[in-house]
Structure formats: C-alpha cells, structure tokens
Amino acid sequence: MPAEHVGPPPVPPHPPRTVLAATAVGKRYDGIPVLAEAGITLRAGEVHALVGENGAGKSTLVKILSGVVRPDTGRVLLDGREVAFATSRQASAAGVALVSQELAIFGDLSVAENLFPHGLPRRAGLTSNAEAERRARPVLDELGLRLRLDTRAGDLDLADRQLLEICRALLTEPRVLILDEPTSALPKEAVDRLAAVLLRTRGRGIAVLYISHYLEEVLRFSQRVTVLRDGRVTLGGAEIATVDLAALVTAMLGEEHAAPEPRAAPAPAPASGPAREPGAAAVVLDSVTVPGRLDRVSLTARRREVVGLAGLQGAGHLTVLEVTGGRARPASGSVRLPGGVAPRSLRQATGHGVAFVPSDRKRYGLMLDRPVWENITSVSWLGLHRGGLLLHRRALVDRAARSARSLRVDGGVHRRTGELSGGNQQKVVFAKWLDTDPSVMLLDDPTRGVDIRARAEMHAVIRALADEGREGRAVLVASTDLSELVELCDRVLVLQRGRIVDELSGERLTQQALSVSMNAGFAG
C-alpha cells in the first residue's frame, strides 16, 4: 500500500465494519440538482477521502451526513440504522462530528469557550478554564496549537482558527470525524501534524472522512477515496491502492478533460521558463521594521515577476503583504509602490493600483448577502469610483459575468454570494480584484479551496497578469501550499522571525528546499 510509508497502519478490525453510510442521496437548491443518487460508506478505522471539482457537491454531502442539511431523497445510516439528525448537535451526540468549510468560530468568545460551545466543563456549577485546560490541552498539543485558552478567538489567524475547530471536533470524541477542506488554510507543518493525528484516530477505530483538493495529500493519507462530479459519484470508495493521480483527475473532470488538461496535474509549472526578463522595480521595501513582526526587511519586486513569500506561521511573510497593502504601518524603514508613493492605508494603496487578495474570504473578502456581480464590481465601482455616480447596472453585470465565466464561477452572477461553494467564493474574491486592473498584486493563499483545474487556470491568469499590460505587473504571493509557490513564482523569499533568511529560484526552487530553509535553525 502506498500509505505504508506514513507509518505502520494499525490493522483495522476484520471485516471492516461500515459505521456511517449514505445511499441514493439527492438534494436540490432552487430546483437545481446539487446531488443526485450520491452515496458513500465510511468504515471504522479508515481515512476516506472525498474529492471533486468546486461545486461538485462535497460540502453538501457531508452537511447531509452530519445533519446540517436535510436531503430531499435518500437515506443516511449510522451502524445500519437510519438516522435523520435535526441539528449538527444531535449528530455529534451520536458521534458524528463535522468541521465545516465555512468555519463556525465565535470571534468574541475565548478559545476555551469555542472549544466547548455547548458549555465549558464546570466546577462547583461555574465554568472552569482550568478544567477546560486539563481536557483540551492534550488535543491542542497534538495539533501544535500553542494558545492561552482565554485568548479571544477573533484574534487568531485563519490557520489557528481552522485547527481550533478540528480540536473542537476531536474533543467530542467522535466515532466519525468529517473534515471539509481542513488543510486548505494550513501551513505544511500543521498539515503534517494533522496527518499524524488522523493516523492515530484511525488506530482508535474512528472513521475519518476528509475533503481536499490536494490529490497527493489524498493519496498519502487515505485508504479509500470517493469522487463526486456534478453531484454524482464517479468513483465510489475505491481502495487507494487501485487508483493513481490520472485516474482521480479523470473521475473528477471526466474523460475529455483528463488528457487535454496537462496543467491539471500538479506537474512542473507552465511558464516558469527563464524566457522573460523582469521589468522595472514596482515594490521596494527598505529595511522595514514592524515591532515583533518584521525586522529590517528589504526586498524589491519587479514588474513581470512573481515573487513568493514563504515562512512558518508568524515568520512575517504575511506582514510583508500587509505593509505593502497599507494594512500595517512600518515603525521604521520605507515601503515604495510604483510612482514612489508610500502606502498609508488600504484605501490609499488600492487607489495606487494595489490589489490585496486576503485568504480569509468570509471576513475580509465578500458581502455574502449580496449578489456575485455586486461583489465583483464593488472595488472598482465603490472603492476606486470607476464607472460614474449612477449605476450602469447592465454594464457592471456584464463585466462581472465575463470575469466570472473566465474563472469558472459556477451559477449566474445574480446568485447570492453566500450560496456559492467555497471554491467558487474564493474565485469571486480573486475576480473582484482582477476587475480593478491593478499594477501590484498581493496574494495571500489566492487559490485556497480551489480545485486543481481552476487552480491551474488561476495560476495561468496570475502569470499572464504579471507579463501582460503596459509594462507588466509585480505579484507578491504568500501561500500555505508550497507546491503553489514552486509552480507560480520566479523566486521565493523565505522568512524566519521577521527576517529574510533565504532566496530560492530556478533549479533550487523545490518544495523540499523550501521546507528545509523555512525550518532551518529550528532543529527538529
């Protein structure tokens, strides 16, 4: 088994017992079928992967499994008995825990209160952080979350919030653990820890279902895989040994796409040939210091160049984006945008052609209650005041529709953005910044939760952005996904403790090299 190298697979009890199963599940939204005859079976002690394109129906299926959404047709069986959970609470009481894609964090509450949303453990009738500490700490440590339990959850970054939710699920001691894209926001080191945790849970005979767009990851962690395409199962619970990457891609995209979609495979990046020579300097940081976050960082990003930023959590690579985008102000040193202006605020930076694509789309990216087209046009019309005082609705809608189509945002631009699937929402955030025709792009996990095809296409768009236009554009990318940096970037700057410690490019730019130099000096 290819999973062998991850660690000794504790032999699952024979014969593998089915814990949770869904059969012939159908679900429609507004008459549009989202799931049709979909089904899946989870066995005790297995890690089962669920993959598919954006909008294929993965989240919907797992929401049905865990009682968040009711199916129109079909049945859900727990230990062979049919169940109809009214709420996710009932589900978790029955041992089915879901970590959903749209994080359910209570920002104003403490980490402890978020870990036990139905009530902190009590001592003498009063909730007790100490008791919570005692119960939660081991799990937190397993996942490498070093947090004080009285920290306000809203102050955590996306990765920590993701881990926090996984802890919350683990603390319910589930028999079925469902993770919807747990790794899309996680840095490599966290992913590895999660993998270890999953392996252990597997040992305890827990069934794990997890959704991911990282196919290698899927092949490494899971024993079986189910593939959804347009709400139908195209590969049902196949033993991982029997499938390879090509097979998965075919199942996801269909025969016609498998072959003519070379970029679909996470093979070497398309345009990273040395053909282009970079243009004029667009972004210049000169010994920029942000107390506690950046320490005398200097860098130059030229037009026609995609510069990657890598680092462990808190290494400062994100702060580089923030000072460039005007979100954070350097205490000393200088930041220069094209035309020599210094970014003073998000608004002013936007005005000078900076596009800042945040990774936390729900919080910083989208108006979930507005239609897609309003989101896509909001920066250019409402931020940059392009397009006049009066609404030219048709014009805006058409423009939005065009870029939505080019990025494969499924469903019309009149849909409420909150109804889109996670990946499609991410595409909308990207589209709304493309719509501003920026001269500098700051990307933080630009393809978070986007499927491999759309991801490859977005990469192509980013490259094109860098190269085309009057004299090209500068792109700064930070990503938790090292392969993305390798595929996309001309060179990658590695930061540690707020300092640039390494620069990788050309042949030296590989995932291994990256993770080595990111971790260098942190022996072990």
């Binding site: 939204y29 507004d30 008459g31 549009i32 998000l346 608004r347 002013q348 930076a349 936007t350 005005g351 800042f356 945040p358 919080r363 910083y364 990216g365 989208l366 108006m367 979930l368 209650d369 507005r370 239609p371 309003e374 909001s378 920066v379 019309w381 409402l382 931020g383 940059l384 005041h385 397009g387 006049g388 005082l389 009066l390 609404l391 469903g411 019309g412 631009v413 009149h414 849909r415 409420r416 109804e419 709304k432």
Partner: protein, 356 residues
C-alpha cells in the same frame, strides 16, 4: 418606484437569480414593500369599514401630513441604519432647525431665505455626528444620544425656553410650505419627492451602493478600499438634512418655534424604518418601506380616535394594534401571501364601493 428597491432588497433572498426572472420578481415584490403597504391598506380599510368618515379624503390627507415629519426623518434614517449606524439626534436636529428658523424669521429674515441657514445647518449637525463617531471611535448610538441633548438644549436656550410665535403667518413661506398644493398638503408632496429621490439614491447611485456595501460587511469594505469615513459622514449628514427638512415644514405649518417638540421622534423614525424592512444589522434598507412604516404608525394613532377607545386604554390599544400590524406583515412576508392578497383586495374594493 418600488421595483428597484424591492429588487435590491431581495438579494438577501436565497432564491434570487435562480428561477425565471418573472417569478423571482413577483416573489421579491411580495417579500418587501408590498407586505407593509398591504398592512397599511388593510388598517385603513378596517377603520374605514367601521367608520366611513375615517376614509374621508380630508382625514386621510391630514393623517398623511401628520406622518410626513417623522416620515422624512425615517427616510434619512434608512441611510444611517443601512450602514450599521443609528441617529438618535433626529428629534434634536428637527427641533433646533425649527427654532433657528423661527428666530431668524422673527428677527426679520425673509422666511424663504431662512432655509438657506436651517437646511445647511441640519446637514452640518448630521455631519458632526459622523465626525465625532469617527474621531472618537465610539458607537453612533451613544454619540447621537449625546448630540440629541446638545441640539435640543441649543434650541431651548436659543428660544430662551419660550415658544416663538406671532410670525408673519401671511408670508408665502407659511401659506405655501405650510399649506396645500392641488389640495394636498405641501409636506406630503415633499415626502413623496423625498421617497422617489432617495429610493434612487439608495438603489441606483454609487453613494447608495457604498452605504449598503459598508453595512453589509464593514471589514470587507475597508479591505476593498471603500471610503468608509466619508460615506459615514455623508450618510449621517443626509439623515440630519432630512430632519432639517422636516423641521422647516413643521415650522411652516405650525407657524411657531416650539423648543419642546420632537421628543422621542428618533424611536418612532427607527421603528418606521424597521417596520418597512430596513435591518438594524445594516446592508439592507428600503426608503418606501420607511415611509409606509411611518404612515402605519400615524394611521394606528388616528384610527383609535374613531374607535373612541377609553382614554386609559389608548396606550394599551396603540401597542396592541402596532403588534398586530407587524405580525400581519411578517405573516405576509412568510406566506407567499397570495390568499391574503386576494382577501385584502376584496376588502378594499368592498370598502370603496361603501364609501363612494
């Protein structure tokens, strides 16, 4: 005029965009102003059936006029609420503009010219609210609670605690603005114009879109480089301006500057907005809804007079009827409401046969 707003409102509606445009459109209409307007009609109909005199043109017009002051404030308030702010100083602004206008006119300023002072002043007072909110980083609720007293206090001090009367009642300012045009009270015309203009502003202009975008997700708005401070100040200035307009009209009608009027109007105005479908949580707002809301509140008060509710029960009855009205509204919103619609139609037609 409802179409665009309702349409815009409906974006909150999950089934938006999907399904044939026509159906969606009807559903949206159903979901929004039609709800309140129907409630309004039903209330009038009910009162009219019991007391035909209630639906007499003059009575309805005077009700409309009485609601117009709070109605105008509500129109302004929609913008504040749509961007997650609230303005408790509309009553104070109203009073101050009323008194300033009266003082100017008493001291010989041409009544019409006094508008050149009072209206800009009103906008300024509103902008001040926005400025303080921004600079001090404190919720507009508390800021405007303070400025409400500030403005009302100025009015009281300026009027030296007395009502300012014996103004030149004959002047065209009082006869026209305070009178009727085509036998409809001028303030009702103004309300109608405001309704149309600001519906367009909210749903069809960049400013309106900015207001709603900021209210929908302030953090995202900041990230998208929207001019949040400027928009907030503009929006609150607009709210202030509308209170000023209401004040000017009240002055023209009452022909007197009374520093004690306008107490508690802020809550009535906010209530009108919310009844009309504007959300305290921001992002959504309906100008026509706000106007219907204020009309509903006036109708309730007036109707109770016709029903000769014993004086000690008036407050109770008012509360009860308002609750019934909003309950009916929510029922309409939730049911596709077709049945109710037909029922209402029947009632209304019967009524008009009756009163004709």
């Amino acid at each position: 005029m409802t179409q665009p707003v309702t349409a815009e409102e409906s974006t909150a509606d999950r089934s938006h965009g999907a399904g044939p445009r026509g159906r969606a459109w009807r559903r949206r209409l159903m979901r929004d102003e039609l709800g309140v307007s129907l409630v309004l009609v039903l209330l009038v109909a009910a009162a009219g059936i019991a007391h035909p005199a209630f639906v007499h043109k003059d009575n309805l017009l005077s009700i409309a006029q009485n609601s117009s002051y709070v109605g105008l404030m509500a129109v302004g308030m929609v913008f504040a609420l749509a961007m997650r702010e609230v303005d408790l100083s509309v009553g104070g602004t109203y009073t101050l503009c009323l008194v300033v206008g009266a003082v100017l006119i008493r001291d010989g300023t041409d009544p019409w010219l006094s508008l050149l002072v009072t209206l800009p002043l009103a906008a300024l007072l509103g902008a001040f609210n926005g400025l303080v909110t921004t600079v001090l980083e404190i919720p507009s609720f508390i800021v405007t609670l303070g400025t409400a007293m500030l403005y009302r206090g100025m009015a009281l001090a300026l009027a030296d605690g007395r009502q300012i009367s014996n103004l030149p009642a004959g002047n065209s300012f009082f006869t026209v603005l305070g009178g009727t045009v085509l036998s409809v009270p001028t303030s009702v015309w103004v309300l109608l114009v405001a309704l149309i203009v600001f519906t367009v502003v909210l749903t069809r202009t960049r400013f309106g879109a900015q207001v709603r975008a900021i209210g929908s997700n302030p953090e995202a708005a900041r990230f998208s480089g929207l001019p949040i401070t400027r928009t907030r100040i503009k929006a609150l200035a607009l709210t202030g301006l509308m209170s000023g307009v209401a004040g000017a009209l009240a002055l023209a009608f009452f022909i007197a500057g009374d520093p004690t009027v306008g107490q508690g109007y802020e809550l009535t105005a906010i209530a009108a907005c919310i009844i009309g479908g504007t959300s305290l949580a921001g992002g959504r707002g309906s100008v026509p809804g706000a106007v219907f809301g204020s009309l509903i509140l006036s109708v309730v008060a007036a109707a109770l007079v016709f029903f000769q509710v014993p004086i000690n029960w008036t407050t109770f009855a008012t509360g009860a009827v308002i609750l019934l009205a909003v309950a009916l509204d929510s029922a309409l919103r939730r049911s596709r409401g077709v049945g109710l619609k037909q029922g209402a139609a029947a009632v209304v037609s019967r009524l008009f046969r009756r009163s004709a």
